[in-house]
Symmetry: D2
Subunit: 104 residues, 4 copies
């Protein structure tokens, strides 16, 4: 699914629940940071974690997917409420990074 489609889904979701009044930029930012905290908790007592999470239970990966999603969804909603086209901004940022850090 595209970022734009997710943003539209989240707008519909908020409208259907009369949540738009809560979705100010700083409220959404703090909500996102709350989710970043939950994501960090998953990694906090593990020491270094290997790529692909070889020794994780399926339920732990499921939980991780949910916390990553929570951060993503608030991030998309925050961008949308601020009137930022996140897909466009991200593509531009990658291009800018490619100039700043030329390939080897």
């Amino acid at each position: 699914m595209s970022l734009k489609e997710l943003a539209m889904k989240l707008e519909d979701f908020a409208k259907a629940r009369d949540w738009e009044k809560y979705h100010s930029p700083r409220n959404l930012l703090l909500a996102m940071i709350g989710e970043v905290g939950e994501l960090s908790e998953i990694f906090q007592w593990r020491g270094e974690v290997e790529k692909g999470l070889p020794n994780w239970e399926e339920s732990e990966k499921e939980h991780l997917g949910e916390e990553l999603s929570d951060v993503l969804l608030y991030l998309i909603r925050l961008a949308d409420i601020c009137g930022i086209d996140l897909s466009h901004a991200a593509t531009k940022k990658i291009a800018k990074n490619a100039i700043k850090y030329p390939p080897n």
Copy 2:
């Protein structure tokens, strides 16, 4: 652009710069949190901010788009390195939220 396409772009980007050795889950998580900090700095001394950022300079919106993108790109890369299909996880999370919070 889809999340999957962005994940592939970021993988190519890391490979071309020999950065894969740095992209462990906890390294990427901390890098993402660094960007969350930069995003927070944009909002820190402003008091409440209105939707659509009516009084912001174009250059401030540009900067905001970059910081939102930095968080997004590390989040996508973190999910990818963990072997999580973020698009799938996000869609599932929205469906789960729709059950948890029924519309009015």
Copy 3:
């Protein structure tokens, strides 16, 4: 209580529970970020909050005190594990800030 006394209390606490093996710098940092997330959750849907929290319930202030403490305790423990004298560093930082930002 001084920062030094709190650091010593936390070291004793960890020793008595055989938790020292978990208290690596990055584990503690991520644990602290988890608590920053919980602190943010308290403020997330409130819009602007007034100094002194005039309309907050006593139980909400209690909760806030606990989350602020959780961040503080992990921060003190992180500094201690890194061998940083936080009290000394903080005093120095205030002096440095006083030069950077001269009073009006």
Copy 4:
């Protein structure tokens, strides 16, 4: 130095610079999160870090002390502006944790 003394120093600091108008709870919280981001950046590309930071340069430890202090100072200021006695709250939280997690 005690937490109370640091809180008083920070209040004087803000008053002398006419910064009190900026020191609302959510502004200070976001400023603290900005500093948490800078703290995370120090640890982001290092992989696991050993206690005591055996291989760190003196200048890196100095930098770490400054970022830890920045988080601490905003945390103390946030608590103070909220009317929370952080020293009291932290002592209570340790006592509560001691009951929740009895020693071995």
